[in-house]
Symmetry: C2
Subunit: 186 residues, 2 copies
C-alpha cells in the first residue's frame, strides 16, 4: 500500500514508486487510479508551486466552505517541514497537529483533507513546493492560524526567530480564536 496512516483520520502520507535506469528516473507523481483503488477520489483542478528561501514559513492557511480545499503537497527541490492542524468540528483529533519532512529526495506527499489548516517551513537553502488542490483559490474565503501558537505544538524545524513570514500571516489569530464551519465526516 503506497498510503500510510498518520493517526489523524483522513490525513495520509503517499509514497510513489520510482523507476530508475541509466537515463535517470521516472515516476508517476500522481495517478487518479492509484488513489481510486485505495478508495480516495478527488477532482484536482489547480496545481500551485512556490519557491522559498531558508526560513520562509508559509501558513497556516485554509479556505472556508464552500471553497475548502483538499491538498496534495510535495517538494520538487529542497526540504520542508510540512504541518497541518485538524480544525474539523467534532473531529476526535480536533486541534491536533501533524508535521512531516517532505523533500525532493524522499518524494513523500501529504494528503491534507478539507478542514485542516496547512503550512510549511523551508529547512534547506531554497525549496520548491508544489500542491494539487480540488477547489479553486478564493481570496475572500481564506482563513488562517498563527504559526507560533503554542497550543499547536508544531516543531517547524527552524529557529522561529529566523522565520520569514508574510505580513498577512503575521497577524493571523490563534487556534482558540478562529471561527470556521468545517464538518467532520467520520
Amino acid at each position: 500500500m503506497p498510503f500510510q496512516q498518520t493517526g489523524i483520520p483522513g490525513l495520509l502520507v503517499y509514497e510513489p514508486k520510482v523507476f530508475g535506469d541509466h537515463r535517470g528516473y521516472f515516476f508517476e507523481s500522481y495517478n487518479a487510479n492509484t488513489f481510486r483503488e485505495a478508495g480516495i477520489e478527488y477532482n484536482f483542478v489547480q496545481d500551485n508551486q512556490a519557491r522559498s528561501t531558508y526560513g520562509v514559513l508559509r501558513g497556516l492557511h485554509y479556505q472556508l466552505e464552500p471553497y475548502a480545499q483538499t491538498k496534495l503537497v510535495r517538494v520538487l527541490e529542497g526540504r520542508i517541514i510540512d504541518a497541518v492542524v485538524d480544525i474539523r468540528k467534532g473531529s476526535p483529533t480536533y486541534g491536533k497537529s501533524f508535521a512531516i519532512e517532505l523533500s525532493a529526495e524522499n518524494k513523500l506527499q501529504l494528503l491534507v483533507p478539507k478542514g485542516f489548516a496547512h503550512g510549511y517551513a523551508v529547512i534547506s537553502e531554497t525549496a520548491e513546493v508544489m500542491y494539487k488542490c480540488d477547489n479553486f483559490y478564493h481570496k475572500a474565503s481564506e482563513g488562517g492560524i498563527i504559526y507560533n501558537d503554542p497550543a499547536l505544538e508544531i516543531n517547524w524545524g527552524i529557529d522561529l526567530k529566523d522565520a520569514i513570514v508574510s505580513e498577512k500571516d503575521l497577524v493571523l489569530p490563534k487556534l482558540a480564536d478562529i471561527n470556521h464551519n468545517f464538518v467532520f465526516n467520520s
Copy 2:
C-alpha cells in the same frame, strides 16, 4: 492571453503568471478555469515526472486510441528541447514537427493534443521534467517514431552522437513506416 499559437492547430504554448515577493515566488502551474476560459477543457488524471542527465533523449512516443493522451509538459529543473510531430490523419500539418526550449526559468508549458508524437532532449547538466496527461499509461498501446528520422527535421539542441536513448527508443520506426489511427478534428 496566456496561450500562444504555434502554427500547428491545437498545439499551444502556455505561460503562467508568476507572483514574486520577499519570500520567493508563487504561481498557479495549472488552473482548470484558466484553460476553460480559453475554451480548453481536459480531465488530467495522471502527472508524470522524470529526471535525466545531459544528452538523454526520451521519445518520440504516443499512445494509440482509445488510450491517446493530451500532454501538458513543463520543466521543474534545468532545460530541454521539447519536440512533437503531428501524426493526425488528415491534418493540414501532418508530419510537421515543432520544437521549443522549456526550462525551469522560462516556465513555458507545451500543450500537446492527442495525435502527436512527443519527446525531449536534455540540454542542461540534469533536468527534471513533468507532464500532466488526460489518459492513463497503457504500455500495450505505446507507439513511437525514431528521434533521428531526417524527415522530422527536429533540432534537438544536442549532438546526436551524444544522445542517451533507451533500448526501446533505439528501435522505433521512421515516420513513413508507422501505422496509427488518430483522427484530426478541425
